[in-house]
Symmetry: C2
Subunit: 359 residues, 2 copies
């Protein structure tokens, strides 16, 4: 568990009002900050994390966040918070429901990207920050930035959305559904009551992670890295034989130690329901935010077509937007890496050096 | 269970010698025939089925097999057999091990595409057929036809491989591994002993099928058929809400009623290990067989690159081969459908009307 600061941002008399109706309290949030807030309070950058991230952005996104990086902690005051619904210090479905004294389980309310943003905004207020120099997010992180720009017009000066989506495809939903089914169907899930029993649906969560992971990497990337190599000394059969099987097994076993199955369900499900441009008022609400959209050519989860949709909708609403496609072998996970050109674009955008719009 | 004829092709004194060493007996095979064998015994066509098919080709491949279809049962004597390792009448891992009187389970030997072909060839001998006018298969079916052409040079006059592969990609193996993990990790799998307990690993097999199914259909196909439609009267949550979720759930629940988890493991695993061109002698052994290779542009399981590899290796060995890519929205499953041009190509090839080679 994270050792970053935690603060209760919503409680009984002042609960979190959820976008889908109802309230939630208490909401405690784990967050990390890097750098110093300038006297004019005009150098804050918020990092919104993806499905399984946490508050410690400089740890999981070292290419983007740190001294001399695009989100330069020598110049910017950087804030990142574990998401509502998460399991890395912020209130989520495995937290204690004060009404029962046991874990919320599936009684935790269904949450949306807008609810994540409401919590982020309250954290900013708690930190005494009114405006953001920028908000930056990859994947689900980018979706939060987009939602935020519409929910709080003008609060974000520069919005960087990397490998994000404003509308999951049918295939996206199908694959996420299968991952959730693996968890929901695991007998150790116990209808979401597993925290009461001190157990974890290890098998379901492992299968979910392995499947998710394959969608984060590209076919050519897997081919280049593993090919059809076999493990030394292994034999044909139903055990781990190919190197790719060993890799996925390792991904699964480290994941179940650090992530919670209920959080996986809640955060994965809100992706499916995110479809902000279905409401015409959404893009029209955005004011005084400039957008930078970046996608990767080998990303088959939220590839360039997803960024193109966002660009089209933003342009139609008269929003200032630039879009770039970066060549990278590493699929969706490229947003965490440094394929040529990518980090320079973000660095330029955060410093108001105009990028070239690629069509 | 099929009501087609069954015959014991290998038994104690005459066991099946497996390509990986060892023997298996008894081997009973369920097979179907259509049409009449000509007096010259020169009109036989063998249909090799894919992972989850069965002997009744005219049922599951009605576009390809039947009166007036490319594999015209008014003219050809058509043979199809349930695969070794299957569960539709042919001996497989849930059949009884004569040594113990209970199901083989994971004591069933690991089998290969070559073993499936050995059984097919014995069936042909049993039926008094020496040469095939053609052998036709989609996916794993095509892989059997390829293996057969090398194992019995000259026995197949015309080989039709549709949406086949001679070497699974890393991503193919990764996704198949995840599907198998869902089965192997289901507590009801009981280390493969579930048949003894009269139970079925329903949850694992369901997740495996849902994942497999998504790889059989294309992203644009899913988008066109389901989009983001929701079921009438459903509500957001972790139940079945999107139409695609309902569809996958239906696919899973009908599959577990007709297919066996152990057969899924064995037949899926032999795909991973199939890599015939790794042996230089393989293609060199092929004689007097003309090949037709067909792929579909939206197939992301065994797409055109897989057919291109087969074409390249066959050409290098001087084998007569034509290759075609067909435009189709329906991904890998296109081989069971009738996208424009596809069936005409097969019909032409079976009747020695030269096709146009597409590059």
């Amino acid at each position: 568990m994270s050792t970053v600061p935690r603060t209760i941002l919503f409680d009984g008399p002042d609960p979190l009002h959820l976008s889908g109706g109802g309230t939630l309290a208490p909401v405690e949030v784990a967050y990390a900050t890097y750098g110093e807030l300038a006297p004019g309070r005009d150098n804050a950058v918020f990092i919104a994390h993806a499905l399984t991230g946490d508050a410690e952005a400089a740890q999981w996104w070292p290419t983007m966040v740190g001294p001399g990086r695009p989100v330069d902690t020598d110049r910017f005051f950087v804030v990142c918070a574990n998401l509502l619904g998460g399991c890395r210090g912020t209130t989520g479905p495995s937290s204690t429901d004060p009404a029962t004294g046991r874990a919320w389980g599936l009684d935790f309310p269904l949450i949306s990207v807008a609810d994540l943003v409401t919590v982020h905004r309250r954290l900013l207020a708690h930190l005494g920050i009114e405006r953001l120099h920028a908000a930056v997010g990859g994947s689900l992180g980018g979706m939060q930035v987009l939602q935020w720009a519409a929910d709080a017009p003008g609060q974000i000066e520069r919005a960087v959305l990397v490998a994000a989506s404003a509308r999951l495809s049918t295939q996206n939903i199908a694959l996420s559904n299968i991952a959730r089914q693996a968890i929901l169907r695991d007998p150790d899930f116990r209808g979401g009551r597993y925290p009461d029993h001190g157990i974890v649906p290890v098998n379901g969560l492992s299968v979910a992670r392995m499947l998710g992971h394959v969608t984060y990497v590209s076919e050519p990337g897997l081919e280049a890295k593993f090919g059809r190599s076999r493990r030394d000394g292994s034999t044909p059969g139903f055990g781990i034989d190919f190197e790719i099987e060993s890799y996925l097994d390792h991904q699964a076993s480290t994941f179940v130690d650090r992530f919670d199955a209920l959080s996986y369900l809640y955060l994965s499900r809100l992706l499916d329901y995110f479809d902000p441009f279905a409401d015409d008022a959404f893009a029209a609400a955005i004011r005084d935010t400039r957008f930078q959209l970046i996608s990767f050519d080998s990303d088959w989860r939220f590839g360039t077509s997803h960024s193109v949709l966002i660009e089209k909708e933003l342009r139609r609403a008269g929003v200032d937007v630039e879009r770039h496609e970066i060549a990278s072998t590493w699929g969706h996970d490229s947003f965490l890496l440094d394929p040529p050109g990518y980090l320079d674009l973000v660095e330029g955008f955060l410093n108001d050096r105009t990028g070239v719009v690629h069509d």
